[in-house]
């Protein structure tokens, strides 16, 4: 049975994912054993309030159901019912969770052609998403449609470099939002990609795209001044490009106060979050989890090392397998 399962995994997933999965599972079992024997109740409560679990998706592209069982590479993978069950199980084991999406919620299955994004927004609301940013395909039903579908979303759309003045989205999005989780104050901002040449103009209307680095630095500065311990950017810029086009890589290097960039657009399955050094010589993490809800990314920060009011910003970041 186990053999069959391994065989199946081997045929469906790249080798590296298999191996990492195995290592991860072994590490979790070991860590759980240690935790249950060594840590007292009080220390547990203190530790919980200093611990933040970030869960994230990007480019889900209307994949509400798993991929069909048609012999394709991704058959049976993804789907909101399995993602919701996984998120619920993580929420049971850890108290402070932020659930985030980096855009391209819409387009890719007939659900979107038929229902224009209503079930996508409702499913994300049911899962308890805390925030999302907009991807280029979120304009595919037109900017009016996105504004209409927001009635089904109880989470905010964060974007700080699109000027939506005189559009149906005016005052319906926010540049950032601040969350308090236990003892940790988190600022989240969002960034969208250049629309001209990518999205038909009749779909994005009078939206004005603004320089992402200027907008990100300005917004992150506000969040820092408000005392955020961790600043997260949801980005639909794409991880990196050969031709020097603005990307998460450039963003990470050219900004000052962002600690973590959760990206999208390029549908890249990162092996491990990438590390870059920013303008202040602090390290920044960038992560992306492919597309279609095949993966859910998880990044845990432990703030117990920091006294209250200290930011996480560090010269270096050590990444461990959870």
């Amino acid at each position: 049975m186990a053999n069959q399962l391994m065989q199946k995994l081997k045929t469906e997933l790249p080798m590296s994912i298999n191996r990492r999965k195995f290592i991860n599972q072994t590490a979790i079992a070991g860590a759980a054993l240690l935790a249950s024997t060594l840590v007292t109740k009080e220390a547990h409560a203190e530790a919980a309030n200093n611990r933040l679990t970030i869960l994230h998706t990007n480019d889900v592209h209307s994949r509400l159901e798993p991929f069909p069982m048609d012999g394709g590479r991704n058959q049976g993978m993804g789907g909101v019912a399995a993602r919701a069950a996984l998120i619920a199980s993580i929420r049971k084991e850890t108290e402070h969770v932020l659930l985030l999406d980096a855009g391209d919620i819409f387009q890719g299955t007939p659900y979107f052609n038929m229902y224009q994004g209503e079930p996508e927004m409702k499913a994300m609301t049911m899962m308890g998403y805390d925030a999302a940013t907009m991807g280029n395909h979120d304009f595919d039903g037109g900017i009016e449609n996105f504004a209409t579908q927001l009635q089904h979303a109880s989470f905010p759309i964060l974007i700080c470099n699109y000027d939506f003045s005189n559009t149906p989205l005016e005052n319906k999005t926010a540049p950032y939002k601040i969350f308090q989780k236990g003892k940790i104050k988190i600022g989240i901002l969002g960034l969208g990609i250049e629309l001209e040449g990518l999205v038909p103009q009749n779909l994005y209307g009078k939206t004005i795209y603004q320089d992402p680095i200027l907008a990100a630095n300005k917004t992150a500065d506000i969040l820092k001044k408000q005392g955020c311990d961790l600043i997260i950017c949801l980005s639909h810029l794409g991880d990196k490009y050969d031709d020097g086009k603005i990307s998460d890589e450039i963003l990470a290097k050219e900004t000052e106060n962002i600690d973590l960039i959760l990206g999208g657009h390029t549908h890249r399955f990162f092996e491990i979050p990438r590390k870059y050094t920013n303008k202040k010589q602090n390290e920044v993490l960038v992560n992306q989890v492919g597309w279609a809800g095949i993966q859910l990314g998880r990044i845990d920060y432990d703030f117990s090392l920091y006294s209250a009011g200290k930011r996480v910003a560090s010269k270096s970041i050590l990444i461990r397998n959870k």
Partner: protein, 228 residues
Amino acid sequence: MPQTAVVEYKDYQITKEAPVDSSFIRFLAPYGSVLKSSMGKVIGFSTEGLSLKQPESTIGNFMADAMKQQAEKHFNQKVDAAFVNYGGVRSNISKGKLTVGMIFELMPFDNLIVLQKLSGKVLMQLLDKIAVDVNGGWPMAGITMEIKDKKATHVLVNGQALNTTNIYIVANSDYVANGGNDCAMLKGIAQMNKGILLRDALIEYVSWLTANGKSIDAKIENRTTNVN
């Protein structure tokens, strides 16, 4: 403040063995049952399956051939070349039954087929853009070319060397013809448009192949080759 932050990360794979939350299955059911009735119709069969890659692919050749044939039919004129932007091909087709829903996943966008009269010079600019888009190479019909040093070379249109002063009738999606996918060279050039959705054209082409006893398959024909 410590100089080193410690984070733990994990990527969860949502596999087909993963437990599900049944309330989400119930939530989706009413939407899904409506979709199944309209999207489940079988319109063809693929023996080999079709998949996407650059510079040339089986699914790309299938889509570009469909676009050229359908453009010639609906516009009732000869078309020299048809293109589908690489990023616009949104899924593969597995071997076996082909449903309407699978065509929606392949071409989810409401893009229209349009024709433009392009000078050989502008067509060459488009081909040079195609040569560097992502890793180089788009689905195309009616043209063969080589990609060398990130440029299009040895371009043949209908088997004849491209002449920069000739006028060619070229089919594209309205998205590309309007300058999308960074094709600014096409923007502003007059378009012939009969309101034909590329997706509907694909469904019609598949149904036509099926009615003629053909499977939905394609071969690599060296329409585009890398020579570096």
